[in-house]
């Protein structure tokens, strides 16, 4: 297996160990020389920096796009044109029509397009989805999701909504996808954003916070909040899933499995690294993607359609936040399930 890894930022660094674990040879390509740096860090592993994109695409099994969102479409279309399977970081694109275009090209070329909605592979979320699917909670009624942390400073493009789509499109799209995964398609969105959407990078910390309410075709309602917060805002995700017959709650910060309660000095984001208690969700995700290339390898839990719909809902939320109005959505997917469990979502005529 030969993987073309495009990008060498945070997500590429999360994916790379997963690919190596799966036995892949990885060629890294970037436009800013960071591929060489990443490959050098992995000296002794099967990681090389590629000199050109064309060269890399010509000699790989699949392409892993881990670049800023505005570049996804061009790179994905190039990968598809080369006949390669594609896994693409979320959001697939900044608008649903671009996402549709990528998916249509992949379908026409007969290659896989896997939007990397990795939260579906986080064990707590996967366990919750299984419980919902088994009917443990009865009919879902009202869902809440929160996601927040310090404002991303490691790459300047996050600060610019024209590139990242802002906190709704870049961060809340995770929980938008999870809400749709468990409660089905969304027909109405209302959202509001407060604070500094476009960070200037000044000395004063700039916080942006957003709230969105989704109404699913099933009647389920979901509340999603996103926060790019102060520099000391601990990264944390929570969910609360309430149905007619039960309730599930999760707080990522309350169940670490392992904590360091003292290490002699107070270190900000440094010191002894936390030990992962479960397999990396990125590895789980890549394994499922890789298996899907094989005949009978199984359908990944994320489809291209899922990636498109997450973008469509996020786009509607951004529009609602701008206009103050609720936005109605029309999707082409049947929501045939009373419980909102999309165990067997079927495409209908579009």
């Amino acid at each position: 297996m030969r993987i073309a890894l495009i990008g060498a930022g945070g997500i590429a660094r999360a994916h790379l160990p997963g690919w190596l674990e799966l036995g892949a040879r990885v060629g890294v390509y970037t436009v800013d020389g960071s591929a060489e740096k990443l490959a050098a860090e992995y000296a002794g592993h099967d990681v090389v920096a590629a000199a050109s994109l064309g060269e890399l695409l010509a000699d790989c099994t699949a392409v892993d796009i881990c670049t800023p969102t505005p570049t996804h479409k061009e790179l994905a279309l190039a990968a598809v044109a080369a006949g390669r399977h594609v896994i693409c970081e979320k959001p697939l694109a900044l608008n649903a029509s671009d996402a549709e275009e990528i998916a249509a090209a992949a379908e026409a070329a007969g290659v896989r397009l896997h939007p990397a909605h990795v939260v579906r592979y986080f064990p707590a979320y996967a366990a919750m989805r299984r419980a919902v699917g088994s009917g443990d909670l009865g009919d879902l009624a009202v869902l809440r999701f929160t996601r927040g942390g310090a404002r991303p400073q490691w790459a300047p493009w996050f600060a610019d909504p024209a590139q990242s789509g802002g906190v709704i499109m870049d961060l809340m799209v995770h929980d938008i996808d999870i809400a749709r995964w468990i409660a089905g398609d969304v027909v109405r969105v209302h959202a509001q954003t407060r604070g500094v959407e476009h960070a200037t990078g000044g000395t004063q910390a700039e916080v942006v916070s957003a709230t969105a309410v989704l109404t699913h075709a099933s009647g389920v309602i979901s509340h999603i909040t996103g926060l790019w917060g102060l520099p000391d805002q601990q990264f944390r995700t929570t969910f609360r899933i309430a149905g007619s017959h039960g309730l599930l709650r999760h707080d990522s910060t309350s169940v670490p499995g392992y904590r360091i309660t003292a290490q002699g000095v107070r270190a900000a984001n440094e010191g002894i690294p936390s030990s992962p208690m479960t397999e990396s969700p990125y590895l789980s995700e890549l394994r499922e993607f890789a298996a899907s290339w094989q005949e009978g390898g199984g359908e990944p839990r994320v489809s291209a359609r899922d990636g498109i719909e997450a973008v469509r809902i996020a786009e509607a939320a951004v529009e609602s936040s701008r206009t103050g109005r609720a936005v109605e959505l029309r999707t082409g997917i049947a929501s045939d399930i009373k419980t909102g469990i999309a165990s067997d979502i079927k495409e209908v005529t579009r």
């Binding site: 009202v142 509001q192 604070g195 916070s209 709230t211 309410v213 979901s222 917060g229 007619s244």
Partner: protein, 336 residues
């Protein structure tokens, strides 16, 4: 100090009778003549008072003839108005259960009656007496938290089952949206000072307790304020009915300079009772109802919280009524 509790329809009547009975210097009677709405099996009227060892007046007339200094109205939401007007006509201060009323028209009439009679109208919002809320308020009013950007709140319980009128829209004015939006709306009414709600977007469903009640049992309510803040409130009756705890009230306030979280009821020792075969929760936090009653009867403590007034009660009611219209139409609705 003589205090009469008028009607035992509301689930809080029992708590008020208990707290008032043990307050030194307070004499209490209850009166609950109008029990036609009670569901079979619900204990009301004289039997309810006797179970609690509280003196009973067979009619509201008799209760007022006793000469109370203050009354607490615990009738069904839609029946607050006649009792508040009766108290006003007798010149007696009144603490009215929340929500103030089920219609803005009723609420305005109650305010007018009390204003003209020169009696005090207070609304029973105990959570504003929470020490956790006091800490949030201090962080915001001192400026330490900076401008408030967003608020996310949840007030969840199970559907009240000991008093079934709570899910009867005729008597309750609705379901969970009417029952549970106002507590957090009241906190924000206090927190934001002069700021006012501009519009409300609400979505509801009745997938919880479906087939059992007609009222909405889940709701999400987004309120936009003229200070630029926006709040989303989960008012759902989404706490499991057989859970050993009743539910709770949580608030996250995102400011420009601090992120704050409060839980008004998380101060409890948790465990498990093998004898009962369920989880055990031993609350040790402040008794918010008691703090509220003391403030109503004796005035706020030095620098402390006062009870919500009728004007505030009307403002939170207007958020709820706008929420119902929004849920019906699927669009944000201006707060009247």
């Amino acid at each position: 100090m003589k205090v009469a509790v008028l009607s035992f329809a509301h689930v809080h009547a029992a708590g008020y009778l208990r707290l008032l009975s043990r307050m030194p210097g307070v004499e209490v009677i209850g009166s609950d003549p109008d029990t036609a709405s009670a569901a079979p099996g619900e204990v009301r009227g004289r039997a309810f008072a006797e179970e609690r060892g509280v003196a009973y007046a067979a009619t509201y007339e008799e209760a007022f003839a006793w000469g109370p200094d203050a009354v607490i109205v615990c009738s069904e939401n839609a029946r607050h108005r006649p009792l508040v007007e009766l108290a006003a006509s007798r010149g007696v201060d009144v603490l009215c259960e929340k929500p103030l009323a089920t219609t803005v028209e009723d609420g305005e009439a109650m305010l007018a009656a009390c204003r003209e009679a020169g009696v005090r109208l207070a609304v029973a919002f105990p959570v504003r007496f929470s020490p956790a809320y006091a800490a949030v308020k201090a962080a915001v009013s001192s400026g330490d938290a900076g401008r408030v950007l967003t608020v996310s709140g949840a007030n969840n319980g199970s559907m009240p089952s000991v008093r079934r009128w709570f899910a009867d829209p005729e008597l309750a004015g609705g379901g969970a949206l009417m029952d549970h939006t106002v507590h957090i709306a009241d906190l924000l009414d206090d927190l934001f000072g002069e700021a006012r709600a501009v519009d409300v977007y609400a979505q509801t469903n009745n997938r919880m307790y479906a087939g059992e009640v007609d009222a909405e049992t889940s709701g999400l309510v987004t309120v936009t304020y003229d200070n630029g803040s926006v709040a989303t409130i989960d008012c759902s009756w989404s706490h499991p009915r057989s859970h050993h705890s009743w539910g709770g009230l949580e608030l996250t306030v995102v400011g420009e300079r601090a992120t704050l979280e409060m839980d008004a009821f998380d101060q409890a020792v948790h465990g498990f009772s093998e004898r009962r075969g369920q989880g055990l929760e031993l609350p040790f936090g402040a008794d918010l109802d008691e703090l509220m009653l003391r403030a109503f009867l004796y005035g706020p403590a030095e620098g402390g919280m006062d009870v919500a007034d009728g004007e505030g009660g009307l403002r939170t009611l207007k958020i709820v009524t706008a929420g119902y219209e929004s849920a019906r139409r699927g669009v944000p609705v201006a707060v009247g």
